[in-house]
């Protein structure tokens, strides 16, 4: 049967990943909610919440931050664990474990491509961190704390609604729930490869992306790395990447580490073994070589291409504006200025 053949054709690591996502969904979400209940609390809000404790309310003090952290302590511990594993292994929480992103992706893969929107070529970094900046500082000012418009809870409530819990039905039928359901459809099921929510709106994803980029600088961590000399520029990895993190630059695949989720799709399709989830090359020169043995250099696994396309300069001044970097700068300075201003108003006024 065609469906069975298609299933058989899925690469091994992807089958493994889909299986783990399903297991994880069954463990985190109702009706079992097995993992949350291990902490004595099956309520995914409150102590398990991973998205509220880092919000900045204007005029907040460190004591307030401590209150938030101590109420959501399980979420803080989970968040810290996620950051730690991302540093060493890439964003495997997002790609292997997260029930929200994972179910959206699996749902999307069941639909034909003709129903979908291709989001991967949008300027992901700017959209993601722009939204993250607004989420962190501007939304609390407007009275929208993370709970009011929570996207995370859409899938748990949807599962609850489908299994009969009234709270789930109330959520889905409310305007907030309907908008979030719409987001789930547009950015999840009807997105090409299904991970547009993860890449654009998820605060954990944004923080994870930063940690991934930071971890990729170090040679001892496992991230998706490209061996330039092996890459033929055939495009297959860029098409397969579910995050749209791979871009062909000078006919060589370049991985945007802020967006890469270490899902291993690209590695599975590369015939040339030019891309791999690995640490950097060691290439230690041995002091002595055994007779009759040849030591070849390892492929030069590189995760970061700093300045892949240098901006042409004239007399030391860039000849054109890199709009992407300008927006990145604006986002960072917006957040810093916002926090500084509201703190100053608070401490000077009171």
């Amino acid at each position: 049967m065609q469906a069975i053949d298609k299933l058989k054709a899925i690469p091994f690591v992807q089958k493994y990943r889909y299986g783990i996502i399903l297991l994880s969904s069954m463990s985190f979400l109702g009706p079992l909610a097995f993992l949350p209940q291990l902490t004595g609390n099956s309520d995914l809000c409150g102590q398990l919440c991973m998205r509220r404790f880092y919000l900045y309310f204007p005029g907040m003090s460190f004591a307030d931050l401590w209150t938030h952290v101590s109420v959501a302590y399980i979420g803080v511990i989970a968040f810290a664990l996620i950051m730690l594993t991302t540093f060493f292994f890439g964003r495997i929480w997002c790609s292997f474990l997260c029930p929200v992103g994972g179910l959206a992706e699996l749902g999307s893969r069941m639909l034909n491509d003709r129903w979908k929107i291709e989001f991967r070529s949008l300027p992901q970094v700017q959209i993601r961190y722009g939204y993250f900046g607004i989420y962190l500082v501007a939304m609390p000012l407007l009275g929208v704390s993370a709970c009011t418009l929570c996207n995370f809870i859409t899938i748990p409530r949807l599962i609850e609604a489908l299994s009969g819990e009234y709270r789930g039905v109330v959520y889905i039928l409310s305007s907030v729930g309907m908008v979030n359901l719409g987001l789930l459809l547009i950015l999840g099921f009807f997105a090409h490869k299904g991970r547009a929510y993860c890449q654009f709106l998820c605060p954990i994803g944004a923080a994870d992306g930063l940690m991934n980029r930071f971890g990729a600088r170090f040679g001892f961590t496992h991230h998706i790395r490209v061996a330039k000399e092996r890459c033929t520029g055939c495009n297959v990895c860029a098409r397969a990447c579910m995050c749209g993190a791979i871009k062909m630059v000078d006919k060589v695949a370049t991985v945007e580490q802020l967006s890469c989720m270490s899902c291993h799709d690209c590695v599975d399709v590369c015939d040339w073994n030019a891309i791999e989830w690995t640490t950097a090359s060691r290439n230690k020169e041995p002091k002595r070589i055994k007779k009759g043995v040849e030591i070849y250099p390892e492929p030069s696994w590189a995760s970061l291409n700093i300045m892949p396309t240098p901006i042409p300069e004239r007399n030391g001044i860039a000849s054109r504006i890199h709009w992407g970097r300008m927006i990145n700068g604006l986002i960072v300075s917006f957040v810093i200025v916002f926090v500084a201003t509201t703190s100053a108003i608070h401490y000077l006024a009171l």
């Binding site: 101590s70 070529s121 000078d250 006919k251």
Partner: protein, 520 residues
């Protein structure tokens, strides 16, 4: 020499004649021992009787079987267990301090209790007579102010249950006995006290005093926020009862009703409360404030945390209506209430006005009695559900048009699997393919020169260089593949002969080679 003579063997001097000395020594020791025993009693501490019953009430009331059936047919028990009363919180208070009666023997209807009386018990730190008057005063000014604060007796306990407003007795159980919900805790603490403190402090009288003064307060202070919520939900969780409540019409132009006595001011008309008011306990249960308390963390907010003013003069009984300007839940006071220490202290900051607008009693979370309630505007005072009606309408339109497409349009279409939108941009931006029509936006990457299939163009003038800023030029059909570097032709000063080839293109060749687009 033998051992006895060795210099290291010390020879003690001989004792005097023992018989002469031992008797007086023993006698003195015995005397000392007796004196010691009599004076140093290691484990007995005497205490005074808790209160000595100055009016002799317990002469009759401590008798068992002092009971009768009153006019309403209720069995009234007037026997008091002395030990239990002395162990209670009021064990130091003489009977007549609360049950103020004048004649002896007294009628049943005498001796009514007023919670705001002063006792004869002097509060130790200031030496003043202890009284509940400030609390009663605050209570009478609160929204529960029509509740009973005096004329308590055993007989009107049943009447009190039917009264809409709570009395002191409704929330504060004043039985001389330990109430059932605290019994377990009391037993554990009692055993502990008996085992540890009882090593020195023995005697029934002392234990009674200890139980009354210390143990009660110890158990009482361990009341957590969930328990304190229970005292509110006794009434506010009974929705049938709450549905009968009527409040003053808050509307400023509501008609006034003249009072019964002409000298009294007219009162506002009373209207029944809203659905949101009735189900406030239920909507609170859905919030995180309650859900955190339910799992045992004290970090949530109980009813009292929000509804009671937090200034230092408050006694905790002054719950006012939301419309009252001084109420803790009035919009003007919310930033102070929400910003209480240990909670959201940033709410005091004037920039956080949006934060205090969160609806903590969101009625939309409450289980609706029946599905038609969705259409009842009285039940739902929020626009979210109306919004969802509109969204359902759009969903219906979308669904019907999808069905139409599926039946009428799809069978005839080419069943290709390209995305609805975004494929071209993906090719250009991520893969570096040259765009089909528009020139590249910026040379992010040197685009690969696409070699077009060999094309016969009917009218070709001298070799032309394409002017890339002209939107009508179709580059791929004209350029010679190897010799022209597209980037190099951007020289603005080059003299070129430009040819508008769109007309030719349309006539002669297909614009887009179909094979170039690949599936995923």
């Amino acid at each position: 020499m033998d051992a006895m003579e060795h210099p290291l063997f010390y020879q003690y001097p001989a004792l005097p004649n023992s018989r002469k000395v031992i008797k007086p020594i023993l006698f003195a020791a015995l005397l000392l021992l007796l004196l010691f025993i009599s004076l140093v009693q290691p484990s007995v501490v005497q205490a005074n009787e808790r209160q000595s019953d100055p009016d002799g009430c317990l002469v009759c009331h401590a008798l068992e079987g002092l009971q009768f059936i009153d006019k309403k047919g209720v069995l009234r028990v007037a026997s008091i267990n002395k030990a239990d009363y002395f162990s209670s919180l009021h064990g130091s208070v003489p009977c007549t301090d609360c049950h103020q009666m004048k004649t002896y023997p007294h009628e049943v209807k005498e001796g009514l209790v007023d919670c705001s009386t002063e006792c004869h018990v002097n509060e130790p730190s200031k030496g003043e007579k202890f009284t509940h008057k400030p609390v009663v005063k605050e209570f009478l000014a609160s929204t529960h102010g029509h509740g009973r604060v005096k004329d308590f007796e055993g007989g009107n306990r049943l009447e009190e249950d039917a009264e809409p407003d709570p009395s002191c007795r409704r929330c504060h159980s004043n039985t001389p006995y330990i109430i059932a919900s605290q019994m377990e805790k009391f037993k554990t603490e009692f055993e502990h006290a008996d085992a540890e403190c009882g090593k020195c402090h023995v005697g029934e009288i002392w234990m009674n005093q200890f139980n009354g003064h210390i143990l009660r307060r110890l158990i009482g202070s361990r009341w957590n926020k969930s328990d304190s919520n229970k005292s509110c939900t006794q009434c506010h969780g009974d929705y049938a009862r709450m549905a009968k409540v009527k409040v003053d019409d808050p509307n400023a132009d509501a008609p006034l009703i003249p009072a019964a006595k002409p000298s009294d001011p007219p009162s506002k008309k009373k209207i029944p409360v809203t659905y949101r008011w009735i189900h406030a306990a239920e909507s609170y249960e859905r919030t995180l404030h309650s859900r955190i308390l339910v799992v045992g963390e004290e970090k949530g907010a109980s009813c009292l945390d929000c509804h009671v003013n937090h200034d230092e003069h408050s006694h905790g009984h002054g719950i006012l209506k939301d419309e009252d300007k001084k109420a803790a839940t009035h919009p003007d006071q919310l930033n102070k209430t929400c910003g209480a220490s240990g909670c959201h202290t940033y709410a005091k900051n004037s920039l956080n006005k949006g934060f205090v607008k969160t609806d903590v009693h969101d009625i939309n979370q409450v289980h609706l009695p029946n599905i038609s309630a969705i259409l009842d505007p009285e039940k739902l005072t929020n626009v979210w559900h109306w919004g969802s009606m509109v969204l359902l309408l759009f969903a219906g339109v979308f669904g019907l048009s999808s069905v139409y497409w599926l039946i009428m349009v799809y069978p005839k279409s080419k069943k290709t699997a390209n995305n609805i939108i975004g494929d071209e941009r993906f090719e250009e931006v991520m893969l570096g393919r040259k765009p089909k029509k528009a020139p590249p936006k910026a040379p992010v990457a040197a685009p690969k020169a696409v070699v077009p299939p060999a094309v016969a163009v009917k009218e070709v003038l001298a070799p032309v260089v394409i002017d890339q800023t002209s939107p009508s030029a179709v580059k791929e059909l004209i350029e010679e593949p190897s010799s022209i570097n597209p980037v190099a032709t951007q020289r603005p000063t080059a003299e070129v002969k430009t040819v508008d080839v769109s007309r030719i293109a349309k006539e002669s060749v297909p614009i887009m080679p179909a094979k170039e687009r690949e599936d995923d």
